[in-house]
C-alpha cells in the first residue's frame, strides 16, 4: 500500500526506507569515535529530553483540572507546543535540515531529489511526533479521563497540537533554508546562537509568564468575538478545530481552521521543495567556503597574567580566549547569561527590592530565587560550552603533545572561574550593593556565592573532566543539561539557600565555619579532579 503511494508520488520506496532507517540510526548515535568510547550518544540526550518534556507535559494536567475552560487549556497547550517543538527543531535538531554530509556521501548515488526530501520529511515528522506525544498526550489523555469533557475533545486536541507542531517545524525548515540562501552558513550559525539565547530566555521566562496567565484565566480569555486580534495567533487557528468539534464554531472559527490547513500545506510544500539534494549541494559549498575572518584575527596574543606562568595554562587561556573572541556560537552562549540576569533581576524585584539575607535570615527567596539559580547554572553551562565544539577533531593536538592533562583541565576550570564567573559575580555584586546598600553584607554574600559557584564548577568537572573543545556538539545535550539543572533547582532554592540564610549568616562564627568548610571541600574536590583526570583521560588517550 505504502509502496504504491510512494510509487505514485515518484518516490523510491526501498531507498526511502533504507535511508530513513539509516538517518534515524545516525541521529541516535553520535558520529565520533570518542563519543562511542565514552558512551555519549544522541540517544541518551534524546531520552533525557523526552523525559523532561514528559514532565512538562504532565505539568499541564493541573491546569486542565483546575479550569473548566477547554478552549483556554487547548490554546495554551498549542501555544506552548508550537514554541517548544519549533524551537527544538531549530536549535537541537537543525541538522535534520542542515546535513551537508549527505551530499558528500549520497551525491553520486542514484537517489532522486524527491526521495531525498521524503526522507527528510519522515525524519522531521518522527521528532515532531515524539515530542508532541510526550508534551501533549498527558493533557489530552486527561481530557479523556476527566468526567466533564467529551472523549472527542481529547482526540481533537491531540490532532490540533500535532498539526500545529508539524506546521511550526515546517516553518522552521522554511526559515532555515531561506536564510541559508541569503546568508552564509557561518553567519547563520551565529544567528542561531543568538536565537538560542532568545529561546533560553523565553523558556526561563515561561516559568514566570505561565503562572501569570493562569491567574488571569477566564472563560473569555481566548474569546475571538471579544478579542479579534487573537485571529492572528497561530494557536487560535489550530485551536478552532476544537470549537468545530464541540459544535460551538462560528464562521470565523471555520475560516481559521481552513487557513490553518492551507498554511500547513503551503509551508510544507515550500519547505520540502527546498530540501532537495541540490539544497544539500549548495549547503556543502557554503560550508566549504572559508568563514569571514575578523580583522582582529591576526592580533598577537597577550598572555593573561594569571595563566602565563606555564605552558599548559597558556595553551588553555589562549584557546578559550580566542574561541570566545572568534567563535560567535561560543561567545553568544556565554553572553546569553546577561539578558537572563537582567530578566531574572526584573522578576526578582517585582515583589519589592532584593532583601538583604543578613538582616532577615528567615526571608522567603520567592522570585529572587531565579537570580540565585543563575549563579549555579552559569558554571554548569560554561563547562558544557567550553568542552563542546564543531572543531572537536582538532583536539588530537592535546594527545600528540607532551602536555599534562591534569594541569590542562584544572587550568580550564580556573580560567572559566576567573574570566567568566568572577566578572558575573562582580555584576551581581553591584546589583546586591544597590539593594542592600551595605558594602560588607554584599562582599560577604558574594564571597559565599562565589565559593559555591566554584564548588559547582568543580563538581561539573569532576563529573566529566573534558579538555577544552574536545567533544562534538551532541544533539540535545544543552537542553539535557538544562533539564538536569531544573531537577536540581529545588534543592538549591528550598534547602541550600534557606540553610545558608538561616544558619550561616546570623553569626560571624557560623559564617567562618561555613566558608572554611566550603574551602576544605573545594581543596578535596581539586585533588579528586586531578585523580579523576588522570584515570579518565588516560582511557581517552588510548581509545582511538
Amino acid at each position: 500500500m505504502l509502496q504504491k503511494i510512494f510509487h505514485g508520488l515518484g518516490v523510491d520506496y526501498r531507498q526511502w526506507a533504507a535511508l530513513t532507517r539509516a538517518t534515524l540510526k545516525r541521529d541516535f548515535r553520535q558520529s565520533s569515535a570518542s563519543s562511542f568510547s565514552h558512551g555519549r550518544s544522541g540517544r541518551g540526550a534524546f531520552l533525557t529530553l523526552i523525559f523532561f518534556y514528559l514532565i512538562t507535559g504532565l505539568a499541564f494536567i493541573p491546569i486542565l483540572l483546575t479550569t473548566e475552560d477547554v478552549t483556554f487549556s487547548v490554546n495554551l497547550l498549542i501555544l506552548y507546543n508550537i514554541f517548544m517543538v519549533g524551537g527544538l527543531i531549530l536549535v537541537e535538531y537543525h541538522t535534520v535540515v542542515v546535513a551537508p554530509d549527505d551530499f558528500l556521501v549520497l551525491g553520486f548515488r542514484p537517489l532522486s531529489s524527491r526521495t531525498y526530501f521524503t526522507v527528510k520529511l519522515a525524519n522531521i515528522l518522527f521528532y515532531v511526533l515524539m515530542f508532541t506525544l510526550v508534551l501533549a498526550l498527558p493533557t489530552t489523555a486527561a481530557f479523556w479521563l476527566s468526567t466533564h469533557y467529551h472523549p472527542l475533545i481529547g482526540f481533537v486536541a491531540l490532532v490540533s497540537v500535532l498539526v500545529a507542531n508539524f506546521a511550526a517545524a515546517m516553518t522552521v525548515v522554511l526559515i532555515y533554508v531561506f536564510l541559508l540562501k541569503k546568508v552564509s552558513f557561518h553567519r547563520l550559525q551565529n544567528a542561531l546562537a543568538m536565537f538560542q539565547i532568545a529561546l533560553a530566555f523565553l523558556v526561563y521566562s515561561s516559568f514566570f509568564i505561565f503562572p501569570k496567565l493562569l491567574t488571569r484565566r477566564s472563560a473569555d480569555f481566548f474569546d475571538l468575538t471579544q478579542k479579534p486580534w487573537l485571529a492572528f495567533l497561530p494557536s487560535t487557528w489550530f485551536g478552532s478545530y476544537l470549537e468545530i468539534a464541540l459544535g460551538d464554531a462560528e464562521k470565523l472559527h471555520v475560516l481559521l481552521a481552513v487557513i490553518s490547513v492551507l498554511a500547513t500545506v503551503l509551508i510544507s510544500y515550500l519547505a520540502l521543495a527546498k530540501l532537495s539534494m541540490s539544497y544539500s549541494e549548495s549547503l556543502m559549498k557554503s560550508l566549504s567556503a572559508a568563514p569571514p575572518v575578523s580583522k582582529n584575527t591576526q592580533a598577537s596574543f597577550k598572555p593573561f597574567f594569571l595563566f602565563a606562568h606555564a605552558h599548559e595554562e597558556r595553551v588553555v587561556s589562549k584557546l578559550i580566549r580566542n574561541q570566545f573572541l572568534y567563535d560567535n556560537r561560543f561567545k553568544m552562549a556565554v553572553l546569553g547569561i546577561l539578558p537572563l540576569t537582567f530578566f531574572y533581576l526584573f522578576v526578582g524585584i517585582e515583589q519589592g527590592p532584593l532583601p538583604d539575607p543578613f538582616l532577615d535570615p528567615r526571608l522567603e527567596i520567592g522570585q529572587s530565587g531565579l537570580l540565585y539559580l543563575l549563579i549555579f547554572l552559569f558554571p554548569m553551562m560554561l563547562r558544557t560550552f567550553v568542552t563542546q565544539s564543531d572543531a572537536y577533531q582538532a583536539s588530537w593536538i592535546f594527545y600528540a603533545a607532551p602536555a599534562d592533562f591534569r594541569r590542562l583541565v584544572i587550568a580550564e576550570k580556573n580560567f572559566l572561574m576567573v574570566y567568566f564567573v568572577l566578572p558575573f559575580l562582580f555584576i551581581l555584586g553591584a546589583v546586591f550593593y544597590y539593594f542592600f546598600n551595605h558594602t560588607l553584607h554584599m562582599l560577604l554574600h558574594i564571597l559565599v556565592l562565589g565559593l559555591l559557584a566554584h564548588l559547582f564548577l568543580q563538581l561539573a568537572f569532576l563529573y566529566s573532566p573534558d579538555l577544552p573543545f574536545s567533544r562534538p556538539n551532541v544533539r540535545g545535550s544543552r537542553s539535557k543539561n538544562l533539564a538536569i539543572f531544573l531537577v536540581a533547582a529545588p534543592f538549591i532554592l528550598y534547602f541550600l539557600l534557606p540553610f545558608i540564610f538561616e544558619y550561616v549568616y546570623p553569626s560571624p562564627a557560623s559564617y567562618l565555619v561555613f566558608t572554611i568548610t566550603i574551602l576544605t571541600v573545594s581543596l578535596i574536590l581539586e585533588s579528586l579532579i586531578q585523580v579523576r583526570v588522570a584515570a579518565y583521560l588516560k582511557r581517552v588517550e588510548f581509545s582511538g
Binding site: K25, D101, L104, L106, G107, R109
Partner: protein, 255 residues
C-alpha cells in the same frame, strides 16, 4: 565509456576546470594526475553527477551527466577523495544502505558484502561503527561500496590513501582485473609510481586545464625528461625540488 568535451566549471567566475576534453574507453585505466587544486576532484564531481558543469558535455556509460544523472549514477562506482561515510553506521549497515540504494537483491548483496569484507580482512569488524575504523579500514569499506553493485564505470579519487601494503596490492590487482573485464576506470592519484604501473594512459591537469596525455613513456618523451616524476614536475612548474627541501631545512635550523 567516460567522455567529456570542453568541460568547464567556474566558481565565482574563476575556472576550476577549463575546456577539458578526455575519453576513457572500456577496458582502460586512465591515470588522472595533477598538483593539489588542479581540478581533479572537480572533474570527478562533474562526471559523477555531483556538480553541474558550467559548460561542455560529459557522458558516462552512454548517459549524459546533466540530462540523465540518475542513469549515470546507477552505472558508476565512486571512491571519493573526501572519503565521506556515515560514520555512526557500522560497516555492514553502510554497505546494506548502499545495496538498498542500488536495488540489489538482498541475499546476493549480503553474500557480496561478506566476500568483500573478508577479502579486505575486515569482516570481523563489520559490526563496529565506522567512526572507530582507521583511515585505511574506512577506505576499504569505501572501495567495497563502490564495487558492490558491479558498476560499468569506476572513479577512484586517491583510493590507496591509508591502505596497508597488502590491501594496496589487492586494490591494484583488482583494478587491472576490472579493466580486463571491460570496466572503464578513471584513477586519480598523487603516487606516480602506482599510476605508471597500473594505468594504460595518463592525463595531466594543471590549473584546470589538460596539459598532457598519453602513455607514461609518451609523456616522458614529450617533456624530454628521464622519469615520469620529472616530467610531471616540469609540466606543473616545479623544477628544483632539492632547493625547496633545502629551504625547509634552513627554516628548521633557524628556530
Amino acid at each position: 565509456m567516460i567522455q567529456c568535451e570542453h568541460l568547464t566549471k567556474l566558481f565565482h567566475g574563476k575556472a576550476a576546470v577549463q575546456n577539458l576534453s578526455l575519453t576513457v574507453l572500456p577496458g582502460e585505466i586512465v591515470g588522472f594526475l595533477g598538483p593539489n587544486g588542479a581540478g581533479k576532484t572537480t572533474t570527478v564531481k562533474m562526471l559523477t553527477g555531483m556538480l553541474l558543469p558550467t559548460s561542455g558535455t560529459a557522458t558516462v556509460a552512454g548517459f549524459d551527466v546533466v540530462r540523465d544523472p540518475l542513469e549515470v549514477k546507477k552505472r558508476i562506482g565512486c571512491v571519493p577523495e573526501s572519503a565521506a561515510l556515515f560514520e555512526s553506521l557500522t560497516a555492514w549497515e553502510y554497505l546494506e544502505l548502499v545495496a538498498d540504494l542500488h536495488h540489489l537483491e538482498r541475499q546476493a548483496a549480503f553474500r557480496r558484502m561478506e566476500e568483500f569484507l573478508t577479502l579486505f580482512g575486515i569482516y570481523e569488524e563489520k559490526d563496529r561503527h565506522l567512526a572507530a575504523f582507521s583511515k585505511g579500514m574506512k577506505q576499504k569499506v569505501l572501495i567495497a561500496s563502490a564495487l558492490l553493485h558491479n558498476p560499468q564505470a569506476l572513479f577512484f579519487d586517491e583510493p590507496l590513501n591509508g591502505l596497508d601494503a597488502n590491501a594496496a596490492l589487492i586494490v591494484k590487482d583488482l583494478l587491472r582485473k576490472l579493466a580486463a573485464q571491460g570496466k572503464t576506470i578513471l584513477f586519480c592519484s598523487h603516487i606516480l609510481e602506482v599510476v605508471e604501473r597500473i594505468c594504460t594512459r595518463i592525463a595531466i591537469i594543471h590549473k584546470g586545464e589538460l596539459i598532457s596525455q598519453g602513455t607514461a613513456a609518451e609523456i616522458v618523451r614529450q617533456t624530454q625528461e628521464s622519469t615520469l616524476e620529472k616530467a610531471f614536475g616540469k609540466l606543473t612548474g616545479v623544477h628544483d625540488t632539492g632547493a625547496h627541501a633545502e629551504s625547509f631545512l634552513q627554516a628548521l635550523a633557524g628556530e
